[in-house]
Homo-oligomer: 226 residues x 2
DNA sequence: CTCCTTGTACCGATCGGTCTGTACACCGTA
DNA sequence: TACGGTGTACAGACCGATCGGTACAAGGAG
């Protein structure tokens, strides 16, 4: 009773998720990601969450700190993992066009496996409080800077024309939109889609020399509702 | 009192918004659009809405039917107006590349003036009930079909290579992402951005003959938080 | 009077979060 | 072996506030 306020410092939800608590924390994060996608942050009740993970509400709060922190953890772990899978391809001696292909493939692979997390991170992060939100924004910016860098490297190497922020946003818009329609069981693999988009961005729709063989019909299912 | 249920059939919120009620209905839709952007559908209370339009809650419900219907009306009127501003450019005898420029400019102009509505329509529509949601999805699909058509016309006319749904989604992702960062007071007009993106899509980043003069630095402010 | 518009009071349900109690596994000590 | 002590993982009651929506009476205008 000496300390003025706040719970004990060593609760499972404060640790960096390393030990046996991992299973429960991860289960919560995964389950809640699903809930947030379909009902949104404000549309998902704590009651509902605790039901979904088979816990009482008190028990749930033993693990999580707050609802907001769940959202923060989901968003940050997603962005960190995206950063982690992209960085190795940027910090190499590969020529910029190879880098571009690699990070595009990495991004779409990431979208294919963590698509729900992406949608939560970009759509719900605005509900975070100031401090939390800034961290998410910074992480997202950091990720986008990687793309900007690679694109600029290619321009400086003379592989393509100079690019500015407008170009970069166009590129990212193109790739990030895939999170909305790409499905694991779709006819095209993430790598195939990545290659096609990189190709489209580099050479454009207008043919240069020889002609390509491509169907006129959609080869992907329509995007699902929502 | 003859009918078993439901309120009177001739409430202002049932009419197609044509008469004097228009001002109030429009004020509500505009105000709520703003609220939905920042706090989301579930994060915005009816109390808050009525406060924002200077009405009691009872008075508000005289105008609106339900909170859900506000969201539906916002989404549908947005999509309808987008459709209306695009269609005239599609149903012409212009060559496909001219059409593409035109609908791109129309879309970005629309984003510049109704950007908030777009974000609400795409982000919050998932909270609508089944029937409402389907209408929004259909309208969105209809809009995307216009782009698909124009892109295919250009391919058939031999202006560029054949396109499929993956290409179309890439294009739309690129353009729709502008709703997140384009600002009315930005250095580039919607038309300029549209032209640049169309150019990027048609010819790609790799230069063909002569070189273009373009800065390496961003010429747009960073996207705002959220 | 009637019609349109409004504010107020109220409904049951749910909100996010806290508090208390408890079952249980593991502990060193005797 | 038996002991009390400690920490973990949990459930359920409970908090004030707010949720979306309705009932209804009063106000104002014709």
């Amino acid at each position: 009773m000496s300390r003025p306020r706040s719970r004990d410092v060593s609760q499972p939800w404060m640790e960096p998720m390393t030990n046996a608590n991992r299973s429960m924390r991860e289960k919560i994060l995964e389950t809640v990601t699903e809930l947030f996608i379909h009902k949104g942050f404000h549309g998902t009740g704590v009651q509902e969450i605790s039901k979904a993970v088979n816990l009482g509400r008190g028990a749930l709060y033993y693990h999580i700190g707050s609802k907001e922190q769940i959202l923060f953890d989901i968003s940050m772990s997603l962005l960190r993992s995206a950063l982690d899978t992209t960085l190795p391809f940027v910090d190499t001696d590969d020529p910029p066009d190879v880098k571009l292909h690699n990070i595009a493939r990495a991004l779409l692979r990431h979208h294919a496996t963590h698509g729900e997390g992406w949608q939560v991170a970009v759509r719900e992060a605005r509900f975070l409080s100031e401090e939390y939100q800034q961290q998410v924004i910074d992480a997202r910016r950091e990720f986008e800077q990687l793309w900007h860098r690679v694109l600029q490297e290619g321009a400086r190497a003379g592989l393509w024309r100079a690019v500015d922020a407008v170009d970069v946003r166009g590129v990212l818009g193109m790739f990030n939109y895939t999170a909305r329609w790409m499905r694991a069981d779709g006819p095209l693999s993430p790598e195939q889609i990545a290659d096609r988009y990189v190709d489209l961005l580099l050479t454009g729709l207008i043919e240069r020399s020889e002609r390509s063989e491509r169907s006129d019909r959609p080869d992907q299912p329509e995007p699902p509702p929502e």
